[in-house]
């Protein structure tokens, strides 16, 4: 099923794009699985997603843990820890 992936901040800069549409296999069940799967798409993906401690995610506009399931999700955003305010 098509899934929109959004990238922000240095994740976006390193990958070189702010979004892409992907269709991961059924074995990709969680946010952590997705990050692992995306990191195999290109050397830039691998670099941007290498440091899992510095990555955060939102599933359909709600912050989510690495263990969060992605079944049924339409959009997943990957980004560094937020620095607003």
């Amino acid at each position: 099923m098509a899934l929109d992936i959004l990238y922000f901040a240095w994740v976006r800069e390193t990958i070189g794009r702010d979004q892409e549409q992907v269709d991961p296999p059924a074995s990709v069940e969680t946010v952590a699985d997705l990050i692992e799967w995306l990191s195999q798409r290109s050397p830039a993906h691998a670099e941007a997603l290498a440091d899992r401690q510095r990555l955060r995610a939102a599933v359909d506009h709600t912050f989510a843990d690495p263990a969060a399931p992605i079944a049924g999700a339409r959009e997943i955003a990957l980004f560094p820890p937020v620095t607003g305010g």
Binding site: F8, A9, H61, F79, P80, P81, V82, T83, G84, G85
Partner: protein, 147 residues
């Protein structure tokens, strides 16, 4: 009365505060964040997850409204390109007494720092750029309010 604005444009804290005063409470507490020009900073760009930001900020506001008895709550957060001296964020809270107003104001800015999808990129006079790293103090400040 919760008012949230996520915008590129500048804002006027005095006008926002006057709206909160008009709600009839005894006190209005505000916090305004401003771009510091330290270390030769020439520009601060705030990137955000446009489709998600208002929802995330609303969730923070709802949490404050559930925890304290408030008359009004205003959050304005800018995105885009800012320069030193520009205002970034405004949080204002009106309540019957000062305690809830002051506490909710501190909670809101602590949580905006750690629970709203904004990222800051600094550009310096020599042309170098740097993404702002989260500060451990910010996580600690947010954590003191509980989950």
């Amino acid at each position: 009365m919760i008012a949230i604005q996520i915008q590129r444009e500048a804002f006027d804290p005095g006008a926002l505060q006057a709206d909160l005063e008009a709600l009839g409470g005894g006190g209005v507490a505000t916090f305004t964040g401003v771009v510091r020009g330290e270390g030769g900073l020439s520009e601060l760009v705030l990137e955000h997850h446009a489709a998600m930001t208002t929802k995330a900020v609303r969730a923070i506001a709802d949490r404050a409204a559930a925890r304290w008895t408030l008359l009004g709550l205003t959050i304005v957060h800018r995105h885009g390109s800012l320069v030193p001296g520009d205002r970034i964020v405004f949080v204002g809270v009106a309540a019957r007494h000062r305690g809830p107003a002051l506490e909710a104001c501190a909670f809101l800015i602590d949580w905006l720092k750690t629970h709203a999808p904004f990222w800051k990129r600094e550009t310096f006079a020599d042309g170098t750029t740097r993404w702002v790293e989260p500060r451990a103090e910010d996580d600690a400040a947010a954590a003191r309010w509980g989950g």
